[in-house]
Point group: C3
Chain length 260, copies 3
């Protein structure tokens, strides 16, 4: 799947938050896709139509940006391109939860990627979200399943073990490393990487492509940790970009820890 991505070099239209733009773009370049950021309502429809996938990340939300996201999302829908929603901080403020509901109402979202607290907030299950890193007691698989069913999408609930489901198929991914939580934007970049991989397959394969993306991403993090564990978070953040570019399809296959 990775080789196919590199060959297709898909254009990924990112409407993401202002904290993670650079890191998202560099990660997407490293894996062999072509990121473009565009936010203005005057151009997002053109860009979303031209792109292979659209990423909507509400990490630094505003009313104006939400309107532009919905315009872009509808254009992507019309063009048959996958839309990935990252509901950063849903549940942390009512404003963010409302924006997510508005987007999910107006746009046919293909994938939702969030942590347990954010995903729970989308389906009215109580959770505690601290900043953008949520934690939740209870059954993460049940939350993911509810998101998938309620919004007819693939749910990608990330945590120690990542849960991917379309409501029927279930993938549990154990790749990754906790140092990812010490670098800002790693969750957001994962949303972009998922977008890149799903842009290369048919809709019926979105769940599998998402699981592949999450495992690939986690495997790169494991390699980065092995290399930089004696250095620190700054070195890890940089080396992770190295590894996203170096990791091969074969190696990703060998490191893959996915139950389904």
């Amino acid at each position: 799947m990775l080789n196919q991505l590199k060959e297709m070099n898909p254009l990924i239209h990112c409407m993401t938050n202002m904290v993670v733009t650079t890191y998202t773009a560099n990660g997407l370049l490293a894996i062999g896709s072509s990121p473009v950021m565009a936010y203005a309502k005057e151009e997002v429809q053109d860009m979303a139509t031209a792109a292979g996938a659209l990423l909507l990340n509400i990490g630094t939300p505003s009313v104006e940006l939400t309107e532009a996201m919905i315009l872009a999302g509808k254009a992507a829908n019309k063009a048959g391109k996958p839309v990935i929603l990252d509901p950063v901080g849903a549940g942390a403020t009512a404003f963010r939860t409302d924006i997510c509901h508005q987007i999910l109402k107006e746009v046919d979202v293909s994938i939702v990627r969030g942590n347990a607290g954010e995903m729970a907030a989308l389906v009215g299950m109580s959770g505690v979200v601290k900043g953008v890193d949520g934690s939740l007691d209870g059954d993460k698989q049940a939350v993911a399943k509810k998101v998938a069913e309620q919004y007819s999408c693939v749910a990608v609930l990330t945590g120690d073990v990542d849960t991917i489901t379309d409501g029927e198929r279930l993938y549990l991914v154990s790749n990754g490393h906790e140092w990812l939580t010490k670098v800002v934007g790693t969750g957001c970049l994962l949303g972009g990487v998922v977008a890149a991989f799903v842009s290369t397959v048919n809709k019926s394969d979105y769940a599998e492509a998402a699981a592949y993306a999450v495992s690939f991403y986690g495997a790169a993090a494991e390699k980065a940790y092995d290399k930089t564990k004696n250095q620190g978070y700054g070195s890890f953040a940089q080396d992770f970009i190295d590894q996203l570019g170096l990791l091969t399809e074969n190696e990703a296959e060998q490191l893959r820890k996915v139950e389904s």
Copy 2:
């Protein structure tokens, strides 16, 4: 003080400029706090109330953002949380100086962190600010004292020697390295680090916590310079994040160069 910070893992609400968001977030994660960026007037009151401290950095200012900062600042005041103002470029344009005065009038600011030129601009003392790196002849301690007294706050005036005062107590910190001036956002991140440390103490200890933060920060820079002096500014920028995560309470104590 560092161990307490790591244990409390405070949420720091950053309303900072668009040049330094990533670096600020990664630095705050490294020391053990939890950064969140939120700018929209619809949510900043909720976020500031939930957070342990609020950072207002006017590095890329706008009228709309100023309004949101004042809303957030008032909410933080009401919730009894410290507000840290970083008056980036005050004195460089009238617009920035005016914004600072507006914030200082409407919000009870706990800490102001700036260079000599910026601090001088806040209290009507002439200075020359070149870009965001100001220089000033005259007595920096007098300027810091005037800021502290005029705005009933702790003044953190950074430079070769950093001056911290609440108008009565005075701390002079000699930690740090000039390579910090070759990496964008190191002053801005310091504002965030000060916010994180003061969020863990009572108001009467803000000056001492700020002095601790400035010394800790400078010590991490010294370590980063020792490690990367034969490499360059890019390596220093990254290694500094490593060191912010690696520096221990004991080591910070040993490296501490604070006169009071």
Copy 3:
């Protein structure tokens, strides 16, 4: 020319896109200039007047930002300071092409820096732009010449070989490395580096200074590649900042590959 830049330490007013602000600032600091970002219409005239050069990069455009760019550009014109336009994604959407035309109509632009597709879009020659990385069949020199003549500016058309012309003089620069295309913002930072170098010379020498800047930049990339080719794109991105700070005037002279 580099030594002169370091001695003058010019202030470069950057109105650039939100993806590349940090990298642009760190690159400009590394070479010895002093970057400042300012976007609000209330202050851009003051900042552009005070600065040594103004960079207008439309990578994440909006109507409001365009208005501010035109205000800043006119102020720079009035103050006799060079204006550098980076038409990111011109041709990719009508919105971006229109913004460029608007700026070029209202502001006396000194330098335009873009890839082949973007430059072609500015002068109505058909091209295909994929994301922000354009490709174009046909004669790049002809496109550059047309841009230079139509807008009475220096055209800097970057690609495998970089073409710099003011319509009469022609410089072909072979420095650089393709890994630059795997790191976001390297084209944008080049616009800033060109701004820094042209700010140190008279208008009649803009073309030569731009060619010097492009060669210097490419030489630093070659050194960074030599050092990090076994590591990856993340390491290259960081080491490139190191090399921008380390490269000396003599070394740049030795590595220089410019035909004219």
